[in-house]
């Protein structure tokens, strides 16, 4: 009896939430939309793109929103009556219909380049994803690295200086990766060898990085820009054939090197972590280091390697900021992306693919708020910027899809 009532309740509450979302769509957007007005969504990134041009998507605004509201309410009712199994599907339905109707409402009577926004979402997600991957690979071995932000900042500066001095972007890339590895090695040494509190060590790295890069920047980079701080950026590489696909082509296959490397890394890390001996050992060390130790696995070695590889990934993320996007270093230019990466890691349940997907959500809202400013919507863009973090906090409380960190996460290993 007991379990049955709680089961019904577990169906009821999400159902109500979905129906309320449907009503909100109606109240917020449908009522405020002019009849007979259309919303135009651009499906081509620009005329110069290699992709085959396709017609824009034109939606009658009010009708479109009504349909979305109805569909949402229908799914809510379905959930209450029958139950939808997957939590992911539930969140997907709510998020999609809400965001879609918001976009239709905001674009009514105007035109909005949809593919352009998706493309910039991926670009903006790149540093977040790299930070998240760094977090995944270290925390899977139970070392918390909160110093990703600082690592990226140092790497960003190292990249631009070395690339400018050597007149070679690839030198900059390698230097950035090595810098990241070096900073992470320091962190690993502190927390594994000396068992320094992992948070303290990470915070120290962040503070050091902010101070050091700002000092170098104001002392040298700003005065001798052409000597040190003007590297140029990696060009956009279009992949033949694939980039011709409408929508997907310009979003996925017309990018710079760092973005491609990120996508490659996601796949590689996912495979390594779950289908290779090294991944199995990494996860074992993160879950139950003593068990791994009794089977002859060198816990410390596994942790060192993972943290350092993580640092190199963060170094790549650092390179994105300078030689990957603007070609110069500005003070504190990482702007918290390293921390957002950690949120993406948690949201993605410590999986490379999950971390990348959640980075895309963060990137999407980031680019959405820029576009909203251009469209001139009455909602302050800061509110839009807040949305992903609110979602993160809800996730962290465990109401939706509780995420379990590796069992030994953050704990130093004592070998007798």
């Amino acid at each position: 009896m007991k379990t049955k009532t709680s089961f019904t309740r577990s169906r009821l509450i999400p159902g109500i939430v979905i129906i309320v979302t449907g009503l909100l769509i109606f109240l917020l957007f449908a009522i405020n939309t002019q009849p007979q007005v259309t919303s135009r969504f651009g499906m081509n990134i620009s005329a110069s793109s290699e992709a085959i041009q396709i017609p824009d998507l034109v939606v009658p605004a009010q009708t479109g929103i009504y349909v979305l509201a109805l569909v949402t309410v229908f799914f809510g009712a379905w959930q209450m009556a029958r139950g939808i199994r997957s939590t992911g599907a539930l969140i997907g339905i709510v998020a999609f219909s809400f965001v879609a109707s918001f976009l239709i409402w905001a674009t009514q009577g105007k035109s909005f380049n949809m593919v352009g926004m998706l493309s910039s979402s991926l670009v903006r997600a790149t540093p977040i994803a790299l930070a998240a991957l760094c977090g995944v690979i270290s925390e899977r071995a139970a070392v918390v690295n909160i110093g990703i932000e600082g690592t990226m900042l140092l790497s960003a500066q190292a990249a631009v200086i070395s690339a400018t001095v050597s007149h070679n972007l690839y030198v900059g890339l390698v230097v950035a990766i090595l810098t990241g590895g070096l900073v992470a090695a320091f962190h690993a040494f502190m927390v594994i060898r000396f068992k320094v509190n992992q948070i303290v060590s990470g915070v120290a790295i962040n503070i050091f990085a902010t101070g050091a890069t700002s000092f170098i920047s104001s002392r040298y980079l700003e005065k001798h820009t052409d000597l040190f701080n003007n590297s140029g950026t990696f060009p956009i590489i279009s992949i033949p054939l694939l980039s011709k696909i409408p929508i997907l082509g310009p979003v996925l296959f017309e990018n710079s090197l760092v973005v491609y490397l990120t996508m490659l890394l996601v796949v590689v890390l996912q495979v390594v972590l779950f289908y290779t001996p090294w991944g199995l050992r990494t996860r074992a060390v993160g879950e139950h280091p003593k068990a791994a130790d009794t089977l002859g696995i060198d816990v410390f070695f596994v942790r060192y390697v993972n943290v350092i590889i993580g640092g190199m990934i963060a170094g790549l993320g650092g390179a994105y900021f300078t030689i990957g996007s603007v070609g110069r270093f500005d003070e504190v230019m990482t702007a918290g992306k390293g921390f957002i990466g950690l949120a993406a890691m948690i949201f993605g349940k410590w999986n490379p693919v999950g971390a990348f997907t959640s980075s895309l959500i963060f990137g999407f809202t980031d680019s959405l708020q820029v576009k909203m400013q251009i469209l001139g919507t009455p909602i302050p863009s800061e509110f839009l910027l807040m949305a992903p973090y609110i979602v993160t906090m809800i996730v962290l409380t465990g109401i939706v899809g509780r995420a379990m960190p590796p069992a030994a996460d953050g704990e130093p290993y004592e070998k007798q």
């Binding site: 007991k2 289908y275 290779t276 199995l280 074992a284 139950h288 068990a291 009794t294 089977l295 069992a407």
Partner: protein, 519 residues
Amino acid sequence: MPVLELKGITKAFPGVLANDHISLTLEDGEILALLGENGAGKTTLMNILYGLYKPDEGEILVRGKNADIHEPNDAIRCGIGMVHQHFMLIPVMTVTENVMLGIEPVKNGLFLDREKVARRIREISEQYGLEVDPNAYVKDLPVGTQQRVEIIKVLYRQADILILDEPTAVLTPQEVEGLFKILHTLVQKGKSIIFITHKLKEVMAIANRITVLRGGRSVGTVLPAEMNPEKLASLMVGRQVSLVVEKAEAKPQGMTLEVKDLFVRDDHGNLVVNNITFEVHAGEVLGIAGVQGNGQTELVYSLTGLLPSLSGTIHVAGKPIQNTSPRHILEQGVAHVPEDRQKHGLVLTFPIHDNMVLCTYYLAPFARGVVLQEQEILATSEKLAKQYDVRTPSVFVNAGTLSGGNQQKIIIAREFSRPIKLLIASQPTRGLDVGSIEYIHNRIIEKRDEGTAVLLISSELDEILALSDRIAVMYKGQFVDIVPAASVTKEYLGLLMAGIKPENAPAAPSGQRTIEVDL
């Protein structure tokens, strides 16, 4: 030639000589029991053998050859495998993944070959009668099966010397039988086994030879045929011990604890106490038996206010206490000897005198207004320490520096010196030496005879049988049955512990009987 020989192994930890020139031999195809109290140095010795500790002195010979064992890998190479007391399994991984960890076969030069390992596990299962599903997640397996996974792990590494550290601590009597059968099969197929335990009966039942450790020294190797439990116990403890708890017939009076339709969820949201109803009368001991992890812990937590209950009522001496604060509950005259004494029983970094007044520090005479009365606290603590035989240089010593037995005595002193109506004692003697066990058992019976209601939770069936007047058996959050202790057999309780309630309870001889306690 013996398969394994330890010669003069010595290991000192700061302040203790854990192993003092211990020597032993293991013959081919035998089961050698390593018997000793907690703290006698059994586990230290085996961890040295397995390469987890470095010995200060001594040498290890495997099949006559000197073995250099510095880390587990060396031990594994020498064919030594260990089943640890606390399982070394990763709950979120599958059986296959746990077994292959450390020596993973690969296909295509890179990827884990899970199928190959699963096949090998099935072969081992068949060969030795170790039934297990290679694709199951370890967290979903019952404890007995997890132990089989541990044994398979060792066999997969082709060990022929198996060390089992207290393997029966977490098993039901039936599972123990099963384990013994497996051990016999293993020995028949040419393996040699070291079986670490402190339980006398098990030793008598399974060992070919017994090496007894006491205080870090080997006090002799004997044959079970020449021994009886009393002799073994005195060899192990170093003095005569009483194996029987002496107690008079209980004289139960009015109802003290009344629990009705109780439901409790654990931290993960699992329903772990599922509709429990019982009562405990003043002057009787109700024992709750059951394998660890069947909801006993959460039941106690909800009775003592550490975990909220979903529904149901709990009354102590007629007053409702469900979902109130621990302080409110203890003020109703409830004493709690918690399962995890270091976490819930004591503040380890506080001195003994502060620990002695943790329940009463805010009351007169220990506090006047907001000011603690140091003199009063010290005087009372010193008196209690003497009265309850807490062996310590002074009451200013931090509780964390004392031995388990003395820590437990602080808790007993604190809880028993208050006027209490109900005593909830959860695993009161877990990990203690025989002397302390004897002492605590006698105190509990003393409290019962004073008219306190006692709720005893223990996973040691012998302890339950020795102390209880009635016995409830808990399985998967429910009471399978509540039976009078005087007319029940161990076998019947074993069945109940496995969740089986036989239609016709076997009748046991009534009347006077003594119960032996495995120390």
